[in-house]
């Protein structure tokens, strides 16, 4: 388990400043939810934490070590931080179980046989035992997203990042994916979510951060942020989405 700390993170694409000085503290075992309108920088923030986007300024500390040093090899860091995407991004030419085993096989050098018991357990736990041999296009959106979560978990990450993972799902499939998150929460996984599921954030988050125009405009425990937001802009956003 690990902690993640962001200090004054700045990220721009050309002239467009997407993150404008983000300070964020993710405690070991905590669940932090990022909320805010589309384009407020939630996804970019998660991609920066996973080193998929280099940051322009500031620092990202994993267990107190700066992982945002320019030129640092991102691979070992990404093995400790898992990420799940809005559009699943499963590899369409591989079965579900091959999707899950690829990274442990190539990165940890383990054989399929050695991996299978653990991987089968993960599939079993998330109700996918009979879907291991299916290709992504033979699975429903909810199943695909659960496979994507299993794929990230198979690398035994210490922190998991979830980028609006229910936004591309039909409403009746959202629940099964949120249940997976609930289970991970109970196990004490450290998680950062960008989400539009306000009810879910309110129920389970330790901390909710409202992003607006690239800054964390307001943050705090969910009860306070949702029922007594201090800033007018937060109130306005919540009025629109709740």
């Amino acid at each position: 388990m690990a902690t993640l700390e962001l200090q004054g993170v700045v990220k721009s694409f050309g002239a467009n400043i997407v993150l404008d000085g983000i300070d964020l503290d993710v405690q070991d075992g905590a669940m932090v939810c990022l909320i805010g309108a589309s384009g407020s920088g939630k996804s970019t923030l998660l991609r920066c934490m996973n080193l998929l986007e280099p940051i322009d300024d500031g620092m990202i500390l994993l267990d107190g070590n700066d992982i945002s040093t320019p030129g640092l090899d991102p691979q070992p860091v990404r093995q400790r931080i898992g990420m799940v995407f809005q559009s699943f991004n499963l590899f369409p030419h591989m079965t579900a179980v091959e999707n899950v085993m690829l990274a442990p096989r190539r990165v940890h050098g383990k054989s399929r046989e050695a991996l299978l018991p653990n991987v089968a357990d993960l599939f079993e736990r998330f109700g996918l035992a009979d879907r291991m041999g299916h290709y992504p296009d033979q699975l429903s959106g909810g199943q695909q997203q659960r496979v994507a979560i299993v794929r990230a978990l198979a690398m035994t990450p210490e922190i998991m990042l979830f980028d609006e993972i229910t936004s591309a799902l039909d409403p009746e499939l959202v629940g099964e994916v949120l249940d997976v998150l609930r289970a991970l929460r109970e196990e004490g996984m450290t998680m950062v979510l960008a989400t539009h599921e306000m009810g879910f954030a309110r129920e389970l988050a330790d901390k909710v951060c409202f992003l607006d125009q690239g800054v964390i405009f307001e943050e705090g425990p969910p009860d306070r942020v949702f029922s007594a937001p201090e800033r007018e802009r937060t109130r306005e956003f919540l009025r629109r989405v709740l």
Binding site: L52, R78, F85, A103
Partner: protein
């Protein structure tokens, strides 16, 4: 329950009666078919009547469509075509491998490997920019001209090399377009799992890219099958050359028509199959 079933039965009975729309569409279809058939018949009739009216038709018919010559030369042509097939068969895998290698060269990002990248760019520029027949002449006559011992002076060898070098450049571009067509989110997903960029290319990007460009590559290989005939200019007695031999022997052009028919017998089914694959892929992607 009984009600529901009765309802459904009534509806399916009604379905047997054509709807207004079906009657209208049937009428339109019959009309289109009639017009298409009539206009095709008219064109064919004009051709059949008009061509024999040309002043030289009797001579052309004798020297291009002579059934006796056709029957006499066709087996020999078919036999010579086996050489075309053989040359194609050993060139095609070499082209696929070299083409893929060149495509990967153009994708390397490491600065130390920049010469590879430069090589990939120059290679595709040069071999796509020069006519195939010129490459065949330069390599097919040039290299054996160095006075190498047998079998290293064979026109079969250097002619094949010329085809391989030229076609690999086109195949490389097709592979590269396939690699670039894979969405960036696939690379993101692979990177987020901690996969190296080499593993990402090998296990995630390439398998998808290669599958996606199969139809485009098939079209290139159909073109290759035809261009094998160009090797006749530097020596090998394949079908085109064999037809030329028969022409001189019998003072008749019919062997060329026979050769054309043999090529068509191979390329038309292959083209149809490539089109079928392409359409299937388009349906899957939409």
């Amino acid at each position: 329950m009984a009600d529901l079933q009765a309802n459904r039965a009534a509806r399916s009975a009604a379905r047997r009666e054509p709807t207004r729309r079906q009657i209208y569409e049937g009428k339109v279809r019959r009309r289109s078919l009639t017009i298409a058939a009539a206009s095709t018949l008219a064109v064919v009739a004009v051709l059949i009547v008009a061509i024999p009216l040309a002043p030289g038709w009797a001579a052309v018919k004798k020297s291009f469509f002579n059934p006796d010559v056709f029957a006499k030369t066709f087996p020999g042509l078919l036999n010579a075509f086996l050489l075309d097939v053989a040359i194609f068969a050993w060139c095609a895998p070499a082209i696929a491998i070299l083409g893929l290698a060149i495509a990967l060269c153009r994708d390397v990002r490491a600065p130390a490997l920049y010469p590879l990248r430069l090589f990939g760019i120059l290679y595709t520029d040069i071999f796509r920019g020069v006519p195939v027949i010129l490459v065949i002449y330069l390599i097919g006559f040039g290299v054996p001209g160095l006075g190498l011992p047998r079998p290293w002076n064979s026109p079969y060898l250097w002619g094949s090399v010329a085809l391989i070098l030229t076609y690999a450049a086109y195949v490389a571009e097709v592979f590269r377009s396939g690699i670039e067509s894979i969405h960036a989110s696939q690379r993101s997903a692979a990177a987020s799992l901690g996969l190296s960029s080499a593993d990402t290319m090998r296990y995630v990007i390439l398998p998808q890219a290669v599958r996606r460009v199969v139809p485009a590559n098939m079209n290139l290989f159909i073109a290759l099958q035809k261009d094998v005939a160009l090797l006749s200019f530097i020596g090998p007695v394949e079908i085109f050359r064999q037809a030329g031999v028969y022409k001189s022997l019998l003072a008749n052009f019919t062997p060329y028509v026979g050769a054309a028919l043999i090529f068509l017998a191979v390329t038309i089914p292959a083209t149809r199959f490539a089109d079928h694959l392409m359409q299937k892929q388009m349906r899957e992607r939409s």
